[in-house]
């Protein structure tokens, strides 16, 4: 088990290496002149030459990659040619915002999706089943940014219950920085008003992102629960007097979770990749907004950095999902 874990972690290294190379090559092959863009229309050729040297762009491509790679390991992920800020620092600023959003969306999807899936399986073709199925259909079909716009229209513009956009009031002071997750930091520093504000800002974008995974998790859970309910062992458990609640939330749940787990893992990358639009709609200062900015200015290093971070999170999630399989299904052997 431990050996398996170490081997899996070790396997991440060549994957990330390959990915960094691929990204580097693709970014350099793309047409465009970030330095020229950053220097502005009035820059002299000498200035541009000097800037190119400063960013190491005058060196050979293998040399540039080597410099990039060694920097990667040491936490020096290059510099934005546009803002001149180190990419790694930027990532550490924007990553928590995105992770907070993705995790909130995932928590909503899991906390609502799993029990709803269980219950609609038990009371199938009932009112709850019918309503959730209809909503789920819409949830899967509707693009996230469009749902985001509808939410803004309803809850911010018309009802005025929630702030329209942003992560925190512009004139307010976010909770003291510990983890970079505003909600967590607010709790850690006992700043309840800060927590309320952070949650109010988080609610709509998180919900907009959660609807599709919520719908999928629910449907997956419903289908696997229906299958599990027909198993012989459920009849035995009923025949020996165990309560429906115990059977459903203990014995059936764990069996039905196995197939749902894969879906949850896959949704992590889907959510990360999908933050761009939602972050744009809600002006959420996360990786998506950061990447958009970088792409528009043909700024390589931030784009490579964002992609690397997302890939790392994805790979780690997949590893966690594999390990969780063993928890839910004792027949899984790690070797």
């Amino acid at each position: 088990m431990l050996f398996y874990f170490i081997r899996r972690v070790a396997m991440l290294v060549p994957m990330l290496l390959g990915l960094s190379l691929l990204l580097f090559v693709v970014a350099r092959l793309l047409p465009g002149d970030p330095v020229g863009l950053a220097a502005g229309p009035n820059a002299t050729p000498e200035l541009i030459e000097r800037l190119r040297a400063e960013f190491g762009l005058d060196q050979s491509l293998p040399m540039q990659y080597w410099t990039y790679l060694t920097g990667l390991v040491q936490g020096d992920w290059g510099q934005s040619v546009f803002t001149r800020r180190p990419v790694f620092e930027d990532l550490m600023t924007y990553l928590p915002a995105t992770l907070e959003l993705v995790i909130a969306a995932l928590v909503i999807a899991i906390v609502l999706g799993i029990p709803l899936g269980l219950l609609t399986a038990v009371y199938r073709n009932g009112v709850l089943d019918y309503v959730t199925r209809t909503v789920a259909l819409g949830g899967i079909a509707m693009p996230r940014f469009f749902l985001g716009l509808l939410l803004q229209l309803g809850f911010a513009a018309w009802l005025g219950w929630l702030p329209l956009a942003g992560r925190f009031p512009l004139i307010g002071f976010p909770p003291e920085h510990v983890t970079g997750f505003y909600t967590v930091d607010a709790v850690l520093s006992g700043d309840w008003e800060g927590l309320r504000l952070a949650l109010a800002h988080l609610a709509m974008p998180a919900f907009a992102m959660s609807l599709s995974p919520l719908a999928t998790i629910m449907r997956m859970m419903r289908a696997s629960t229906i299958e599990v309910l027909q198993q012989d062992y459920v009849l035995t458990e009923r025949a020996l007097g165990l309560s429906s609640r115990l059977i459903l939330f203990k014995y059936v749940l764990k069996n039905a979770m196995t197939s749902t787990l894969t879906i949850i893992g896959l949704y992590v990358s889907w959510l990360l990749g999908g933050t761009v639009l939602v972050e744009t709609v809600f002006d959420w200062p996360g990786l998506g907004l950061y990447a958009t900015q970088a792409i528009l200015t043909q700024d390589f290093m931030p784009v490579i950095g964002v992609t690397m971070v997302i890939a790392m999170i994805y790979l780690v999630t997949m590893l966690l999902v594999d390990l969780l399989y063993g928890v839910f299904n004792p027949k899984v052997r790690y070797s």
């Binding site: 198993q231 012989d232 062992y233 009849l235 035995t236 458990e237 009923r238 025949a239 020996l240 007097g241 165990l242 309560s243 115990l246 014995y251 764990k254 069996n255 196995t258 839910f328 299904n329 004792p330 027949k331």
Partner: protein, 295 residues
């Protein structure tokens, strides 16, 4: 008062083709100490009769069209779900056919065993050797101890360790022993076993039957043993009921029915049995019915 008294039980099942009458007035009385074998071809309604006693047939599709199922005088067809739940696992134990599919694969066998013991202990603390009003903690501790004890009792070696096994780590015979332990852990007064050995290797079948026979004799309980093996009936049952298309064709003490079958169908069933005494050697010492005498 009889332990179990099924009287004129009628059951209809609805499928997409409409409602079909499955059981046509079943009459059967089981006293303590009796082991009733129920034989009949596949689809004759044996399983649904057994499930009816525990009220495990959902409605729809099932509907009782007539009769009563009296357990110590209480009509189970009139009982509500909470009342039934108090009986299940405590007063009525059940064992099903395939041990591989009847144990929950995601849990250690001990977890399932302890939960059944806890359920039975809550209904009646004396099952776990506790006084009425025992605390939740005492119940839990007693249930755990009882689970180990029960595994030992059904012939599983190293029970304290085995209790932590997952079902897939056990052989078919061991799994059926665990399921028997689960059915018996609440000290039931009635045991319903639906083809408990059909899915097992022939070599293991005899061991499991011997175990069930021993457990039943230890405590004075009534048994409904559903099987399609007349050899099994001859070996361990005291009585037999022959089912055919939702009716009991004939019933009575094993010796009488097997010796003088009054129905052509029973005769045909008996003729279909490969010379029963060939099986006898395996079970010698059980004190079962002598098939040679029955012939």
């Amino acid at each position: 008062m009889a332990l179990l008294d099924i009287e004129n039980l009628g059951l209809a099942m609805t499928s997409f083709e409409g409602e079909t009458q499955i059981l046509h007035g079943i009459d059967l009385t089981i006293e303590r100490g009796e082991i009733w074998g129920m034989v009949g071809e596949t689809g004759s309604g044996k399983s649904l009769t057994g499930l009816s006693v525990s009220r495990l047939i959902p409605s729809p599709p099932g509907r009782y069209t007539s009769g009563a199922i009296r357990f110590e005088g209480q009509d189970l067809l009139q009982a509500d779900e909470p009342a039934m739940r108090r009986l299940r696992g405590r007063r009525i134990g059940m064992i099903f056919q395939d041990p591989t599919t009847n144990l929950n694969p995601a849990f250690r066998v001990g977890t399932q065993l302890v939960d059944v013991a806890l359920h039975a202990g809550r209904a009646d603390p004396s099952v776990l050797g506790l006084a009425p009003g025992a605390s939740a903690r005492a119940l839990k501790a007693a249930a755990k101890a009882r689970a180990v004890e029960m595994l030992d009792h059904v012939g599983i070696t190293n029970p304290a360790e085995r209790i932590r096994s997952y079902p897939h780590e056990l052989s078919g015979g061991m799994k059926q022993r665990v399921l028997i332990a689960m059915a018996m852990i609440g000290k039931p007064d009635l045991l319903i076993a639906d083809e408990p050995t059909t899915a097992l290797d022939v070599s293991v079948q005899a061991q499991i039957l011997r175990l069930m026979h021993a457990l039943v004799h230890e405590r004075d309980i009534g048994v409904l043993l559903i099987t399609h093996n007349l050899g099994v009936v001859a070996q361990i049952c005291t009585h037999v009921a022959v089912m055919f298309r939702g009716r009991i064709l004939e019933k009575g003490p094993v010796r009488a029915v097997l010796k003088h079958p009054s129905h052509a169908y029973t005769k045909a069933l008996l003729d279909a049995v490969p010379r029963a005494h060939t099986k006898r050697g395996e079970l010698r010492g059980l004190g079962g019915i002598d098939m040679e005498a029955a012939e």
